[in-house]
Amino acid sequence: MSTLRTLQHDFCSAVFSSTEDDVLLARHCAGSTRRMRAGIAAYRRSVLANLASAVAGSYPLLQNIVGPDFINEAARRYAQLYPSLSGDLNLYGEHFGAFLAAYPPAADLPWLPAVAELEWEIQRIYGAPDAPAVDLAALQTTPPEQWEQLIFDLDPGHALIKSNWPLARIWEVNQTGHEGDMRVDFDMAQCVLVHRRGYDTHVELVAPGQFAFLNRLSQGVSLGPAVAAAMEVDEQFDFGVALQRFIASSLIRRAFLSEQS
């Protein structure tokens, strides 16, 4: 191994060493041992602080809920345990939810990982491709007997999350400006649609049937089987109501007949 490569490996080991072991790095350094130790300590602090603040910065709602001290400490632990795999710090912190699920101080708040998942999706959607122009002419031109073969393109700036927790409600009561009833029924599971419209990201509750419907549409499944999947979940599912809602909210951008038709 080249000298520089050895140095870089030894540097990395020293920075992440849980025992602050810097013996291997020391052999590459100039100056007194005390000076060298002080320098490594400065890098150890700054690397961990960079990584931890990137994580904490991705989860503003968690900070609101449990406080910045809790999240900063959890983010520091995360930074020691989870390697960063990119030079783009915005990509670091994806597994914070999974980390929190096994983080003893969060044991009393088993719904925190669900909130983390929601916030990661919100961040991802923030940089998703912009929505294509709306083109729903096919709804007018397609004869009713071919509607089953209609395919719908959704705005790429969306995410669908099926949670075991009342995620939409947790989001709602923690919004700045929320007034009135703060109660959350933690025994309730909720399906959530996250949708960026322009500069704003909306978190919306969707019924299980509508969730199954959107899930299929987002996979490029045509209307017929998407409705069938929704009705398996909810016999009362009304695709007219669903189409109207998600066309009005600009989630459905384009309708066209599949090639096979």
């Binding site: 520089l4 400065a42 795999l85 783009d88 915005n90 940089g127 998703a128 912009d130 700036g157």
Partner: protein, 259 residues
């Protein structure tokens, strides 16, 4: 007046959305400089081609006035520290860095600027000084330099070299941009280390060094870096105005010299 804008490239590695739109809106009225913190030019890993591809896409969209990266490394063995870590200034490192700078320039089809970083640790068995290393990188790859005046001062204090030697060792005509910032001092086991925190006003000694740099290199576009403990806009603007005042004095003398 704000003459131009600089952003961290990586914050715009997105496919769409409000932040990219805001940058493009700014770009319609101002020159933009893309300043990367994550290319890890000095790593002995190969460059991250996905990262490079994203930078290429951003450069194509934004058409920036300048693209810069740091003379440092951030990753090894696929693990990222996401920090500006110091290189040992050896022939081996020089070959490595030049190959990566050339690879980036080839991909972007344009020269980039390379910035000197602050360092808190020095390595033994080096073949040259940091400024000689920088000058060599520029000479061999055709890149320009982004001189961070605060970083020169911080490293000079931390490693007991003369900041004037640094300036004297950089050839004229290759400095395309300068940075200024404020540092903080930490005491670690009775060792005093200056840390480049971007959290304070520019120190008087750094202004003095800036003046010397302008005398040597001429009026050069300059950015105040202040991204921790960010002050009110007026205070920040006053700092930028102060830099502009130094620049104005130099522009005048440069005209007199050429006349």
């Amino acid at each position: 007046m704000v003459p131009w804008f600089e952003v961290h490239s990586e914050n715009y590695f997105v496919s769409g959305g409000p932040s990219l739109q805001a940058l493009l809106d700014v770009r319609t009225d101002y020159p933009v400089s893309l300043h990367g913190v994550g290319m890890s030019i000095g790593s002995t890993d190969g460059l991250d081609l996905k990262h490079l591809e994203k930078l290429k896409q951003l450069v194509d969209i934004v058409q920036p006035a300048a693209v810069s990266e740091h003379l440092c490394w951030s990753s090894v063995g696929g693990r990222w520290m996401n920090d500006l870590l110091p290189l040992s200034y050896t022939q081996e490192a020089l070959v490595q860095v030049c190959a990566h700078v050339e690879q980036v320039q080839e991909m972007l089809q344009r020269p980039i600027l390379i910035e000197n970083v602050s360092s808190y640790l020095r390595f033994g068995n080096e073949d040259m000084h940091e400024w000689e290393f920088l000058a060599q990188v520029a000479r061999r790859t055709g890149c320009q330099l982004l001189l961070d005046i605060n970083n020169i001062y911080v490293s000079a204090m931390n490693h007991s070299f003369n900041a004037a030697d640094f300036l004297a060792g950089i050839p004229q005509g290759i400095v395309g941009e300068m940075h200024l910032a404020g540092y903080e001092v930490v005491e670690e086991d009775e060792e005093r280390i200056l840390i480049d925190t971007h959290s304070r006003p520019v120190y008087p000694a750094v202004w003095t060094l800036y003046e010397a740099a302008l005398q040597r290199f001429g009026a050069t576009p300059t950015l105040i870096e202040w991204d921790q403990d960010i002050p009110g806009f007026e205070k920040l603007m006053a700092e930028a105005d102060k830099a502009q005042a130094y620049l104005n004095r130099v522009s005048t003398s440069a005209v007199e010299l050429s006349a």
